[in-house]
Every structure is written in structure tokens, then in C-alpha cells.
């Protein structure tokens, strides 16, 4: 803590003048960068539309209410599809992510030179691309439908589940593993008796958590043609049927709240 001697005695300050100057420069750089970014971003913005937005919002709001309750009948099948996309996608994703996680964990990887970087790259690549983008690609490859949605959800889940699971594997207690190893257990026995009991709670917790997120994501996958509620949303938006849009949003919101409740209950029971 720097002290300056003044006529009235020493004065303490939190930072040295140099540190203060550096901090000031840092903040200045952040502000300047933000202003510059703002100008680049809004270069082509039509401000008349922005000024118009409140009346637009009021207009859409007036048209969106009341929601068309009778439309709910047509939503049960898409809702079932959405839940299936999320559930089957999560299962597929977890099934692929588990071996990837064992390859990525420092203490179980078969080779730190090749398998570990490859597994880590799979995890990063899957994590950085949103499921909607995967769905966009898969719809153009496999054609529209549930299958594209399921695979998109699975591909996105690999990274998430893989990352959390390999961290859980690295945190396992090595002494228990060593004890099992000392009895002459094979590799498969080591996994089922040594690792699995230690990571099982984390495994189920992560899976249910990802399932909860996947329910949210699968609700909008239909926007690019991958089936489920999003397909109805897209159809209603295209014909500007705002009361139907409101109804769909209510159903999505209800599903999300329900899945969050389920996942909170299950995780509470496990952990």
C-alpha cells in the first residue's frame, strides 16, 4: 500500500499512481472499444424502425391477445415430438459422451498423446456450435424431421456432458481405484467397481440437467425444420397468426417450467 508523506502526515492509498494509471487506461480502452463497436454495428441501422418499435410492439401485443386456446388441441402431437427429441437426443448424446469423457480424463485416458487431445477437440467443437446450427446442417443433409433434431441435440450434448463427466472422473478418489486394482481386477471390472460407483451421482445429475436444457432447445429446433413445437411456431409466424404464436409460447413455457421442476427434484434426490 503506497504512502505519500504530506505536511499533515502520511496518507494511505489503495493503489500506486502507476497502478491507477494502468487501471484508468484499461477502462478507457474498454469504453473506447465499446463506442467504436457501437458505431460499426449501428452503421446500417434504420432508426425510423427503431423509433417505430413501441407502436409495433403495442400492435403485435394487441393482436397476440387473447391466445387461441382451441389451437392447443393441435399442439399435443408436436409437444410429444419435442419431448422425444430431447429425451432420445440426450440418451444418444450421453451414450457417445461417456467413452469420450473417459478418453479425455487424465487418469483414465488410454494415451495422453493422441486420444486425449482428440477427445478434448470433440468436446470443444461440440460445445461451441449451438444445436440450432447442427439442426440446420442436419436438416439439409438428412431431410426435415425428428431424426435431424435428435442427432442435433445429441451432437450438442456430447460436449456438455463430456466436459462435466471428465471433470468428475478426474476428481475420483485414486485410493479406491488402487484397492480394486490390487485385487487383480480387469479393466472392465475397474470401471464398474472402481469408477462407476464414484461417478454415478454426477453422471445422473449431469444427464438430467442436460435433458432439462435440451427440452428448451428442442422446442425451437423446428424453426429450421427439425420437427416439434418449433415447426408449428414457424408456420404460425409465417402467416402472422399471433394468437397461435402466443398459445405456442404458453405451451413452451409450461413445458420448460415442468422440466425444470423434474430436473430439480431428481438432482435433489441424487445429490
Amino acid at each position: 500500500m503506497p504512502v505519500t508523506e504530506t505536511a499533515r502526515g502520511p496518507v494511505w492509498q489503495l493503489r500506486t499512481p502507476r497502478a491507477r494509471l494502468l487501471m484508468w487506461l484499461g477502462w478507457f480502452a474498454v469504453v473506447a472499444l465499446t463506442v467504436w463497436c457501437w458505431q460499426v454495428m449501428t452503421k446500417d441501422t434504420i432508426w425510423a424502425f427503431v423509433a417505430d418499435a413501441p407502436s409495433q410492439a403495442a400492435d403485435i401485443g394487441a393482436r397476440a391477445f387473447p391466445p387461441r386456446w382451441s389451437y392447443a388441441e393441435k399442439l399435443w402431437l408436436p409437444l410429444w415430438d419435442t419431448i422425444n427429441i430431447a429425451t432420445l437426443g440426450t440418451m444418444l448424446g450421453v451414450a457417445i459422451a461417456t467413452p469420450v469423457a473417459f478418453m479425455a480424463a487424465r487418469n483414465t485416458t488410454p494415451s495422453a498423446m493422441f486420444a486425449r487431445p482428440a477427445a478434448l477437440f470433440i468436446i470443444v467443437a461440440s460445445r461451441s456450435i449451438n444445436s440450432l446450427i447442427w439442426a440446420l446442417l442436419l436438416v439439409s443433409i438428412l431431410g426435415p424431421g425428428l431424426l435431424a433434431g435428435i442427432i442435433a441435440i445429441a451432437l450438442r450434448s456430447i460436449g456438455f456432458v463430456g466436459k462435466l463427466l471428465y471433470e468428475a472422473i478426474e476428481e475420483t478418489d485414486a485410493t479406491q481405484i488402487e484397492a480394486i486394482e490390487a485385487t487383480g481386477a480387469s479393466g472392465a471390472q475397474l470401471l464398474t467397481y472402481g469408477y462407476w460407483p464414484q461417478i454415478a451421482p454426477a453422471f445422473w445429475g449431469i444427464s438430467v440437467f442436460r435433458w432439462d436444457i435440451n427440452i428448451r432447445e428442442s422446442a425451437v429446433l423446428g424453426l429450421v425444420g427439425a420437427g416439434g413445437l418449433g415447426l408449428q411456431l414457424q408456420a404460425s409466424l409465417n402467416v402472422l397468426a399471433w394468437p397461435q404464436v402466443t398459445m405456442i409460447l404458453i405451451v413452451i413455457l409450461g413445458t420448460v417450467v415442468f422440466s425444470e421442476w423434474v430436473s430439480a427434484r431428481v438432482r435433489h434426490a441424487i445429490i
Partner: protein
């Protein structure tokens, strides 16, 4: 002299559900669900077979990305995405700090607490993409709608985590500051802020990363950014350009993650 015989075999007890009947009921339920669910997935195998060729071309495009022929579109999308991310993160932080303080039970009075928690719940309950659709309808196409979407999503995320951090602070330090007769502002400034600042910086960097990833998505519904470029490339079956865009996204996300972990270490 009696000899105790120990069992020669041992089975590992089940890890999760001990009650056998419940366990088998659960297995049966899962099986029934799987049969029903898989049965309801209609797959047009002829279409899939046709598409495999395209899938292979995408894999090739990913391995030999074409950065040059669409570079103008890619770079414009990238600039939009990055500027959108930067401004939305800054605006989101500026708005979410007061809301976060208001949503902390140990700092805010009851009515303010419920109001701020309500704002957070509203912001978190809707998907970014749905908000983007609504905002594009209101504000027109382009990165401005994207900026608003990301800002809105940032508010829910940052305020919630900031509020939880503030609720978790060491009460002894706040008590000490309060004992000196500090006002509420001084309490926030001298007791709360130094404790939550390192975590807050970490969260902001993490959110920057998420915002960039989301900015690649909301372009699909017209909110500007690299997502629009990607969407066009895929729609025109230009998989080599699409591969280039995806590789750029992965590289930037990796760079952001790597540098943010360094900055976090340096701050803490």
C-alpha cells in the same frame, strides 16, 4: 470346532435405487417409453440415403474449408457478430449490476427484491431465439435487434449469478463496515464490491463467450451476425464456406475461453 463359511461370490449392490421392485418398474417404464418414442420417429430412409452424399461433402468441406470465395460475406458477418457481442455484453453488465444488487436478499428491501427476481425470471424463461424473433418483428432486421436480444439474455444470466454471489458474501466483513456507521452506498462499495468483483469479472468474460456463440444462432431468424452468413451458405449447399464459418466460430470460442481463463487467474 466350527468353520465359518464365507460366501465365495459377491455382487455389487446397485448404486442408485436399492428397492428391487421400484428398480424393475423403472426399467419397464423406460422400455415402454423407448418403444413408443422410437416408434413415433418417422424416418424417410430413401431421403437419408440420398443425403449421405451431401453429408460426406460437408465433411470434406469441413476438412477443406473455403475461406476466400465468400470472404466478404464472412468478414461482414463476423464484424457484426463481434461488435454485437461487445456492445451487448457491456450494456448487459451496466443494466444487470443494479438488478443483481436489487435481487440480493441481504441488501434489498422486500418489494425491490421481488421486482428484480421477477425481471430475472422473465429474462431466463424465454429462449434467446424466441426473443430474437419478437425483437426482429419490432425493430426490423439487422444487428440492432440482435444487440437487444443478447442484452436481454445477459441481464437474466448475470443478475441471477451476481445476486447469488452477493448473498454468499462473508457477513463478518459487511458487519464490520456497518459497525463504522457506513451508509448503504458505502456498505455496497466497501464490503460487497471487493468480495464479488473477481467473480463478477469471471462471469462477464464467460457471458461474453456465450454471447458470441448465441450471436451465431440468432442470425438465422434475421438478427444479423455470422449466423445469417452461415444460414445462406447452408441453404445454397456451399458446404466449404459453411465449414469455414464453423471453423472460425470454433477458433474464436476457443480463443475466448483460453484468454478468459488467463484473465480470471490474473484477476484472482
Amino acid at each position: 470346532m466350527s468353520v465359518t463359511t464365507y460366501p465365495r461370490t459377491w455382487r455389487r449392490p446397485p448404486t442408485m435405487i436399492r428397492d428391487a421392485r421400484l428398480r424393475y418398474a423403472l426399467y419397464a417404464g423406460i422400455l415402454v417409453y423407448l418403444v413408443l418414442a422410437v416408434g413415433s420417429v418417422e424416418v424417410n430412409w430413401a431421403r437419408v440415403w440420398e443425403g449421405l452424399d451431401r453429408g460426406w461433402r460437408f465433411v470434406l468441406g469441413f476438412l477443406q474449408p473455403d475461406f476466400t470465395s465468400r470472404w466478404r460475406d464472412i468478414s461482414q458477418g463476423l464484424v457484426e457478430s463481434l461488435t454485437m457481442t461487445m456492445t451487448a455484453t457491456v450494456a448487459g453488465v451496466i443494466i444487470s449490476v443494479p438488478i443483481g444488487i436489487g435481487a440480493a436478499r441481504n441488501l434489498a428491501p422486500r418489494p425491490v427484491y421481488y421486482l428484480c427476481r421477477g425481471i430475472i425470471a422473465l429474462s431466463r424463461s424465454l429462449q434467446e431465439i424466441i426473443i430474437a424473433i419478437l425483437l426482429v418483428a419490432m425493430f426490423g432486421f439487422g444487428p440492432f435487434a440482435g444487440f437487444l436480444t443478447l442484452t436481454f439474455a445477459t441481464i437474466g444470466f448475470l443478475s441471477k449469478l451476481l445476486a447469488e454471489d452477493i448473498e454468499d458474501i462473508d457477513e463478518a466483513q459487511a458487519e464490520a463496515i456497518r459497525a463504522t456507521g457506513a451508509s448503504w452506498w458505502q456498505l455496497v462499495n466497501y464490503a460487497v464490491q471487493p468480495q464479488v468483483m473477481p467473480r463478477l469479472i469471471g462471469l462477464v468474460l464467460y457471458r461474453f463467450d456465450i454471447n458470441f456463440r448465441e450471436s451465431a444462432v440468432i442470425g438465422i431468424v434475421g438478427a444479423g451476425g455470422i449466423g445469417a452468413t452461415l444460414n445462406t451458405a447452408i441453404d445454397r449447399y456451399e458446404y466449404d464456406s459453411a465449414g469455414a464459418v464453423l471453423l472460425i466460430i470454433i477458433a474464436i470460442v476457443m480463443a475466448a475461453e483460453y484468454s478468459s481463463s488467463h484473465i480470471r487467474k490474473w484477476v484472482q
